[in-house]
Symmetry: C2
Subunit: 479 residues, 2 copies
C-alpha cells in the first residue's frame, strides 16, 4: 500500500465513523500534510482517490467536502393546503421580489434567473447582430399572429424530444411563458371560474389567475410524485373546476418530475371530469435525466392539454419568447393572443430560430443542465453545513431552485425583512407560493449562479439569521 | 408675357371653367406641346408655374393632376351608432384581416402598416446590431417590470412635445400599443363593466374589450370635432360607464384631431362623472400640423387619464414596443403588466432608446409625416378619379388611413369577398369598426405605401367593383 492509499483509507474510516460528517469540510491539504508528515502531493492524491470512490466532493476555491448522499437533509412531507377555492392576493410581496431582481445592491436568491454567462450562449448574440445586419423590412413589420414560421418549425423539432409530434401550425408564439399561461388560462376559464393548482405553486401563476379574476384551489402535492390525484379527484367531485394547471417537470418550486404512471392517471382523471390541463413545461428541458421526460401533451388524445413553455430558463428571459400548444382551444388562444399583445417581436424570434437551426441549442442546454445539477448539489451541501439541523430540503430532479422547509414556528416574512434590512439579501418566503397563506415557514432559493466565496458568505448569513430566530422563538415560546 | 406664362394662364382658365375637374389627370407634356405647337420645356415650365400656384399636383410616373382642394369629395356626416351597451363579436373577420397582412399574394389595403423602406429608419437596424455586438448579459436578463430606464427616459423626453411633463417613473413600457390598451383597460374596468368608445372605432380596441368581457357603448362621432360630448353626457347619465376610450389625434379610422376646446370639455365631463379616460395616441406623432397637438394627458390634473401609445406607427410594429402613462392607476397597471407578459423584451427597447438618444427619431418622423400627407392626397385624388361620384371621404389631419363612405345600400362585406376572390385585394369593411353592426357600407383604406402604377391599378379595380355592384343594386332595387 502506497502512502497516499494509506492516507485515503484512514480518511475513509474517519468518514465512516462519523468523525467527518456528510456536508462537512475536510481539513485543508496543507493541514493534513503537516498532521501526517506527508507531502502536499500525497494528500492531493489521497483526496483524488476518495473523490473517485465518491466519498468526497471538491468545490472550487472551497476545499473538499464529505459527500452528503447518505446524510442529506430529509425531504419535506406532502403539502396539506386548504381545500376550497380562494382568491389570490399578496401582490405587494411579489412586486418586491420582482423589483429585487434588478437591484444591483441586493443579493437576490428569491428570483429564479438562469445563468447567462456561459460561452455556449454567445452565438445567440451573434444571431441577434445578424438580424440587425440583414435590414430586412419584413422583420420590422407585424409578425404573423401565431409567430414567425421559422421559429415555430424549430420549436416543433425540439418538442420531439418530449414525445410530441407537432407541426409549426400547432404552435402559437407568445411574449414569454407568462403570456403563454395567460392566454391558455383565458382560453379555458372565465372570470369567477375555478382552476386547480399544485401546492405550493409558482407565485407568478397565482398572480396571473388573480389578474384574470379566477379563483384557485390548491391540491396537496408530494415532493416526488407531484399533485395528489386522490385529493384532486375529491375536489373535482365537489367543485365546478374548469382546468388543472400543473408543472410536472422539474416543478417550480418543488423540483420533482411526475412519474409517467401518475401522468397517465392525471390524463384519465381529466377526461373523466372533462376538464382542461394546462401544462407548464418551462423547466422541462433542464431535467437531469436523459432523455428528458415526456410531456402530458404527448399523451393527449383529445386535445385537452395546453402546453405552455418558453426559452426564459433555457436561453434568456430578456428575449421574452414563449409558446403554447393549444389543441382544441387553438382559436380561443389565437383570440387571447391578439387581444393580449397583438403579435410577438420578430427579431428576437429570428435570433432564437437561427440559434436552434444551426445546432447551438442542444450543446448549450446540455451544459446548463449539468452546471445546474452541480450547483444544486453544492448549495444543498452548504445548506446542511450552515443551516440548523431541523430543516428539510427538496431534492430537485431538474432546474435550479431549492425548497427549504424550516420548523413550523419560523416566520419566512420576518426572515426576509430581517435579511434585507441587515444584509442586503433577498429571499422568497414560502407564503408567496400559496393563495391560502400556507408555507410561511418555507423558502425557495434560486441556485443558478455558480458557487463562489461570496455565495458561501450569503448562505452563512442566512443560516445564522435562521438559527438566531429559532433561538429567540425557543426562548419566548417554551415547548 | 412669355410663352410658358401664356400657356399656364390658358390652362388655369380651363381648370377654373371646369374643363379639367379636380382630381382629373391633365394632358401629357408631349400632347400639350403638339396641341399648342410649343417646345416640351415650355410646357414643363408652364406646369411648374401652375404647380407653384397650387392649381395642379405632379405625381411621380403618373403626370399632372388638378388639385382636388375645392372639388374633393364631401366629408361624411356625424356617425349615429346604436346607443346601448353591446357585446363585441366579429373575431372571424378581424382574424382574416390580421392574416391578410402577411399573405404575399394579397394586396392588403385593409391593415394600417407603416412604410418601413425609408433610409431614415436605417440607424435603427444599426442600433439593434450593436445590442448584439455588446453581448451584455443584463440585456438577456429579465427587465425591470416598468421597462428599461434608458428607454423610459427617452419616451419622457419625446412626450414634452405633446405637452406632458413626465419622468421615467411615470412610464410603463409594454409589448406594443395592444398591451398598453389591454393593461389600461384592465386597470379601470372589470369583466361585465361598460366602456364608452368613439364610433367608428379601431377594431383592435373592440377585440381587446371583447377579450376582457367588457361591454362597449358607441358614441356618435364627428369627422372634424371627434366624439359627441352631448351624446356622451346623455350616456353617462343613463349607464354606469367606467371609462371612455378615445383616439383624439389622427383618429383611426376617421383621421380628425379633436379641437383643444373639445378636449377640455371632455376632461370636465370625465371629472363630473368621475370616469377614467383612456387616450390612444398611437398616431399622435404623425399629425400634419406643427407643433403636434397636445394630449388629454397634458390637461390631466387628477391622474384620471391613461395615455397609451407605441412606436408601431412611427418606427416599426415588429419591435412591439409601446407604453402607458397611467396616473392614479399606476399600481393596477403594473399588476396587469406583470400578469399579461411579465416584462418586455430588452434588446428592442435598447435599440429604440439609442435611436432616439442619437437624434434619429425626429428627422425620421418628420419625413414620414410629410410622406404620408402626400400619399393621402394622392390616394384621395385617385379615389375621386376611379370611385363612383356618390362617395364621401374623410379628410385626415394626420396618420395614413382614409375612411370611405359609399351609398347606404352598398355591402362592404360582399365587396371584400368579391375583391379577394377576383383580384387578390384585401380591404377592411366598415362593419369591423362597430360592435353594433354599423358601417357596412364603409371602407377603411391604408395609404402608407408610396403611390405606384400598381397601386393605381388596385384603386381602379376597387372602383370598378364598387361601380359594378352599385349598378346591380340599382337594377334590382328600383328607388
Amino acid at each position: 500500500m502506497t502512502r497516499y492509499q494509506h492516507l485515503a483509507t484512514l480518511l475513509a474510516q474517519r468518514i465512516e465513523q462519523g468523525l467527518y460528517q456528510g456536508g462537512e469540510r475536510l481539513p485543508s491539504v496543507r493541514a493534513l500534510s503537516q498532521e501526517h508528515g506527508v507531502s502536499i502531493s500525497t494528500v492531493q492524491q489521497a483526496y483524488y482517490l476518495l473523490e473517485q470512490q465518491q466519498l468526497i466532493v471538491p468545490y472550487p476555491r472551497s476545499g473538499y467536502f464529505v459527500r452528503t448522499r447518505k446524510a442529506s437533509p430529509p425531504i419535506p412531507a406532502m403539502s396539506r393546503p386548504v381545500q376550497r377555492p380562494v382568491e389570490v392576493k399578496k401582490w405587494g410581496a411579489v412586486l418586491e421580489l420582482v423589483q429585487a431582481r434588478q437591484d444591483p445592491n441586493l443579493i437576490s436568491l428569491g428570483s429564479s434567473q438562469p445563468d447567462l454567462t456561459q460561452n455556449t450562449l454567445k452565438p445567440l448574440w451573434k444571431q441577434l447582430q445578424r438580424v440587425g445586419q440583414r435590414q430586412d423590412p419584413s422583420s420590422f413589420m407585424y409578425d404573423q399572429l401565431a409567430g414567425t414560421p421559422l421559429l415555430r418549425e424549430q420549436i416543433a423539432r425540439l418538442m420531439v424530444d418530449s414525445g410530441c409530434q407537432l407541426s409549426a401550425e400547432d404552435i402559437v408564439v407568445t411574449s414569454g411563458a407568462t403570456e403563454a399561461l395567460a392566454v391558455a388560462i383565458r382560453a379555458v376559464a372565465n372570470p369567477g371560474d375555478i382552476v386547480a393548482v399544485e401546492s405550493p405553486v409558482f407565485h407568478g401563476i397565482l398572480q396571473i389567475l388573480c389578474g384574470l379574476d379566477i379563483k384557485v384551489i390548491e391540491i396537496p402535492t408530494d415532493f416526488t410524485n407531484g399533485i395528489s390525484l386522490e385529493a384532486l379527484e375529491l375536489v373535482l367531485e365537489q367543485w365546478p373546476i374548469k382546468a388543472v394547471l400543473v408543472v410536472p417537470h422539474c416543478n417550480n418550486p418543488l423540483g420533482f418530475i411526475m412519474p409517467p404512471h401518475r401522468k397517465r392517471a392525471l390524463m384519465t382523471l381529466a377526461q373523466r371530469y372533462d376538464i382542461a390541463i394546462i401544462e407548464d413545461d418551462v423547466y422541462g428541458e433542464l431535467a437531469y435525466e436523459y432523455p428528458r421526460p415526456t410531456t402530458l401533451k404527448s399523451m393527449d388524445i383529445d386535445g385537452r392539454v395546453l402546453l405552455c413553455s418558453s426559452f426564459s430558463k433555457t436561453l434568456a428571459p430578456g428575449l421574452r419568447v414563449g409558446w403554447v400548444v393549444s389543441g382544441r382551444y387553438f382559436d380561443r388562444v389565437m383570440h387571447a393572443k391578439y387581444t393580449n399583445t397583438g403579435t410577438t417581436a420578430i427579431c428576437t424570434q429570428l435570433a432564437i430560430a437561427e440559434f436552434i437551426r444551426q445546432g447551438y441549442y442542444q450543446p448549450h442546454v446540455r451544459r446548463m443542465r449539468s452546471l445546474y445539477q452541480r450547483n444544486l448539489e453544492t448549495f444543498a451541501c452548504w445548506l446542511r453545513y450552515y443551516f440548523p439541523e431541523e430543516i428539510c430540503v427538496s431534492r430537485p430532479q431538474g432546474g435550479f431552485v431549492l425548497w427549504v422547509e424550516m420548523p413550523e414556528y419560523m416566520d419566512g416574512v420576518q426572515l426576509r425583512e430581517h435579511l434585507r434590512a441587515t444584509a442586503n439579501i433577498h429571499i422568497a418566503e414560502g407564503s408567496l407560493f400559496s393563495a391560502s397563506g400556507k408555507y410561511r415557514h418555507c423558502l425557495r432559493m434560486s441556485c443558478s449562479q455558480p458557487w463562489s466565496n461570496d455565495m458561501e458568505k450569503t448562505i452563512a448569513t442566512i443560516g445564522a439569521a435562521i438559527k438566531g430566530m429559532l433561538l429567540t422563538y425557543q426562548k419566548n415560546v417554551p415547548v
